[in-house]
Point group: C2
Chain length 159, copies 2
DNA sequence: ATTGAAAAAATCAGAGA
DNA sequence: TCTCTGATTTTTTCAAT
């Protein structure tokens, strides 16, 4: 999956990598400032950013919000066990309807899916988990509450 | 935790909430365009964004990158069981040294910590998990590999 | 990819509700 | 306090090289 092909040009140009590194740290950095960091003119930087957007490497420009400051201080992983032949589409549609479900994945192993849930407090978390457990295709759930967020790394991986 | 106090001003001004909604979707939206959406002038929007930054509601402006496009298509949850009296600081320092560890949390329940790991492929994932399992304070690990990312919500949550 | 100009946006100052 | 208007500065964007 990481072999350079005509379809997959290299993995990432060193210049593009440098540009992305700056943008991950400051998504509003001006093209001129980025260019100063990577020894490129502003238009050249813009051209590369546009290409990274077209290629889908950059999914979007956003803000990273602090959940705790917004009152979403309680986080948990919820393993979900489903009835036989529960389709991924069914799971996705259901879990997507919960605003508290930040992420949901079908997984290997014991459980069928793992959810990441954000709630205001324990009481709220309990309510959400109960509602999920009451879904028709859910057999049982197992919750693991986050005590301390030790590491939160922005970006998709090593650079 | 969600009650308005002098320390915790309201939860979020409706205007601020609207501004954040726009910025989550497009972190480079101009103040004028945001203002048009929320019926405010550009300087007024900037003032509020600056305050949201000061308050820490907005953690940072960033780009959201697509892990798959960058060759990080394999994702897993790794439960880690540690020896008695392993300090959170020790865990954090150790796990932070792994670029593949996107997030690490100490947790309630059976395991001591849950890691989110991104790897290039299964072989790479296996190597990383083996290295983690070989850490002095690690007793054993249990990995759950993501088959299908059903839901990925960009909202409040470091990602 | 760079330079330089034009268009757009960000930023600042002043004043009013 | 919070906002708006208008001026200034910076950045984006486009064209030509």
């Amino acid at each position: 999956m990481a072999s350079p092909t005509p379809e997959n040009p290299g993995l990432l140009d060193p210049l593009d990598a440098a540009i992305l590194a700056v943008l991950v740290e400051d998504g509003r950095a001006s093209y001129a400032r980025i260019g100063a960091r990577v020894n490129l003119s502003a238009p050249a930087v813009k051209r590369r950013v546009d290409r990274l957007l077209e290629r889908g490497v950059i999914d979007a420009f956003t803000v990273r919000l602090d959940p705790a400051t917004l009152g979403w201080g309680t986080e948990a992983f919820v393993e979900v066990h489903c009835t036989e032949q529960t389709s991924p589409a069914r799971m996705r549609d259901t879990f997507e309807s919960y605003p508290e479900v930040i992420a949901a994945s079908s997984v290997t192993g014991d459980a069928d899916a793992v959810l990441e849930v954000r709630a205001h407090d324990m009481r709220h978390l309990e309510q959400v988990v109960e509602r999920i457990a009451a879904e028709p295709f859910v057999l049982r759930t197992r919750s693991t509450v986050v005590l301390n967020p030790l590491v939160r790394r922005p970006g998709p991986g090593p650079r």
